[in-house]
């Protein structure tokens, strides 16, 4: 009897254990995992972006009684707004006051610049971008269908104080999708001490002088020229540098029909110049420098005599903690080609997403960023020049950023960045061919021919 009872107990406990385990497992599945997975999938697939953002957005909530404005901006030292970059106390207080007056809490997401495009692409594709205001750098045409056209929202007095050409990089199909907030054109930077030691009285004014001086300034471990040729695509990639030389040679990227027209003498000459300067005395590491900071580090270490760079470089190059060329930096117009000097625009702009619940408030924030005092502070404190013409001519701005005059002068010459919705793909194609030419795998003519064929295929796909 006892054995039988024991056997029954063993059978019952084993059976009950198996049953309970199976039941618990099935219950967890039924109650826990599946509905939440399905709900997440459903909300992002079917809900309108505005409604979905409330449910699925990861943005922090606003302080009680205020409206939240979420901003995607680059981290410093790239052009960052108050609240991200280090601005003076008056600007910081003004920003706090603006938020209080508008009952707004501005929250930033500020990843390093190289991560911005992927972050935006993912968020826009998901249908749940959590931002109201987004920084753009040549991507406004690409993401235009996720951006609000704000041309009519820009106050007339602000528009009048901005260079008209600054809108070209944020305009597509006649619609304005953003506002450029910094005059950021490539100009020539040079080491005055190295030029002086080589007996060169002034920086190169044309292509011939550029090649000659590069050669004369190269000896041992010191090079005449350095630039980041390691990244083919995007603004600040090797393709965009070639576009500056293309315009100096009198060339253009696209014709009136939108098809590429650079497979001509100016296009080939522009690349040939890069190859000639490369041979004359470019830092061999240039082909491996992916970011502009890699090349800037070489220049500010005093190992290269000349480079093209954005205006922001002026301030950190004067900082003895990071620069060995304090007081030895000069800025000048980019050397002129057959058609004169030309440059490209960094296209740093503020835009408003279609997911924003209050585009009018978002526009007010952008107007704050473009306020004359904030623009002045942007220039003096962060090194990024203002875009407002009235602030560019401010004596204090000119005194602190002595290259401001050079940039303004450069802005009187062509500076088209040829931004299109497929800018990344186009510049990747051209940049890769340029890199092949720089490595001696192709001639300039072959590289430009191949680039033209590739870009033609890309543009046809767009059409």
């Amino acid at each position: 009897m006892e054995e039988h009872e024991l056997e029954i107990q063993r059978q019952m406990s084993r059976r009950s254990f198996l049953k309970r385990s199976a039941g618990v497992g099935a219950g967890v599945v039924a109650l826990g995992a599946v509905p939440s997975i399905l709900a997440a999938c459903t909300s992002s697939a079917t809900a309108a972006p505005g409604a979905a953002s409330a449910a699925a957005s990861k943005a922090p909530s606003a302080a009680p009684g205020t409206v939240a404005l979420n901003v995607l901006a680059p981290a410093a030292p790239d052009p960052a707004p108050p609240g991200v970059a280090k601005f003076n106390d008056a600007t910081v207080q003004a920003f706090a006051k603006w938020q209080a007056d508008n009952k707004t809490t501005v929250t930033y997401e500020a990843p390093p610049w190289p991560q911005l495009h992927d972050k935006m692409a993912t968020a826009f594709a998901s249908g749940n971008p959590p931002w109201d205001v987004v920084y753009m750098s040549g991507w406004a045409p690409e993401f235009r269908q996720n951006l609000t056209a704000i041309g009519d929202m820009i106050p007339a007095d602000l528009k009048a104080d901005l260079p008209p050409s600054s809108f070209s990089t944020v305009t597509w199909d006649g619609k304005v999708y953003g506002v450029v907030f910094t005059l950021s054109l490539l100009t020539l930077f040079y080491n005055t001490e190295l030029l002086s030691k080589a007996g060169i009285a002034a920086p190169p004014k044309n292509w011939d002088e550029l090649k000659t001086y590069t050669k004369e300034l190269t000896s041992g471990n010191q090079y005449g020229w350095v630039l980041n040729y390691g990244a083919p695509e995007g603004i600040g990639g090797v393709a965009s540098y070639w576009m500056a030389f293309l315009q100096q040679a009198g060339g253009k990227m696209y014709g009136p029909d939108g098809m590429p027209i650079f497979n001509d003498t100016p296009g080939v000459d522009a690349l040939q110049l890069m190859l000639d300067v490369n041979t004359a005395g470019t830092d061999p590491g240039s082909i491996s420098y992916v970011g502009i900071n890699d090349a800037t580090n070489v220049f500010t270490a005093g190992k290269a005599a000349m480079m093209m760079n954005w205006p922001f470089m002026w301030v950190p190059a004067q900082d003895p903690k990071t620069s060995k060329i304090v007081g030895k930096l000069g800025a000048a117009l980019l050397p002129a080609g057959p058609a004169g000097t030309a440059s490209i625009d960094g296209t740093d702009a503020w835009t408003i997403t279609t997911a924003s619940k209050d585009p009018a408030l978002a526009m007010k924030l952008i107007e704050f960023y473009l306020d004359p005092n904030v623009q002045k502070s942007q220039s003096i404190d962060t090194g990024w020049l203002p875009i407002r013409l009235s602030v560019l001519n401010d004596p204090e701005v000119q005194a602190k950023s002595t290259n401001a005059k050079v940039v303004m002068d450069q802005a009187t010459h062509p500076y088209d960045s040829f931004v299109t919705p497929d800018y990344n793909e186009v510049t990747q194609a051209i940049g890769t061919e340029i890199q092949k030419a720089l490595k001696g795998q192709k001639t300039a003519k072959q590289a430009i021919q191949e680039s033209s064929d590739l870009v033609t295929a890309i543009v046809k796909k767009r059409k």
Binding site: S21, G25, A125, G127, N146, P284, E425, T432
Partner: protein, 316 residues
Amino acid sequence: MSALSTSHGALSRFRATGYIGRRRRTGLWLVLPALVVLVAVLAFPIAASLVVSFQSVDTAGGKFSGTWVGLDNYAQATTDPAFWTAVQNTVYFTVVEVTAVVGLGLVVAMLLNHPLGRSPFFRVILFVPWALAPVANAVMWKWIYNANYGILNQILEALGIIHRPIVWLGDPQLALNALLLADIWKAIPFIALLLLAGLQNVPPILYRAARLDGASAWQTFRFVTLPQLRTAILICVVLQSIWALKVFDLIYVLTKGGPADGTVTLNFLAYRVTFDFGNIGYGAALADILFVMMFVLALVYIRTFRPTRPASGQPA
């Protein structure tokens, strides 16, 4: 036995009454949560990616809508020069990495299996590369390879091996091999430990027998050690092949696929096409091509390296 009759038999066994039937059904219920998770995080994304690869995807205005284009995305790959460059780089990278990692891993494992190498100190040191986070490893190697400040150039110049700094990441072929070196360095520890575990499972009596038969060290290695390690080597080759095929972090941090697409692999190309160009359908097609390559490779390895069964009546 046909598949139909096999599945019929399985169904019958599932439906069987009695203790064995209940036990089988309970077992299936118990693994159901794990199966659901596997389907959700593995099978579903693979299937979704396959569907997307046959579409042209438009994400305008926050929508994710796809238009059926059939095999157009796969056809695009065949005419894309970057695709063929990526295939070439991927095959080269995988073959060299797997050969080097498994070969060097075996050498390291044998050293660790030697009485002098059995100290725990060596095993701890061995784990350092493997324990580094992948991105941290990539950044470290970026500085090692830096043309101006990198320690590799400084050491080689100090030893008089080179007289001018080498731009390790400046030449397409050199850059690819530089990435290989960085990845091999990181991968060896884990493979060495897998092989060490296999070595320690080799019955010592086989080595004694080989010694008694007068086998040399090489003969012992070739006819005793290697056959016994067959399964472990198979596992290492399969794992390392998959990891080599999907290398990404090193390329992203060090070269971004350059110079001149010299270090772009299929995985990186899929990322570039999807996120840089916004061509999600084509990116999915590239990712699926890579998936099929990995799957076929794993099947080939398993078939090639599976232990041979003796014929019936014959000793093993």
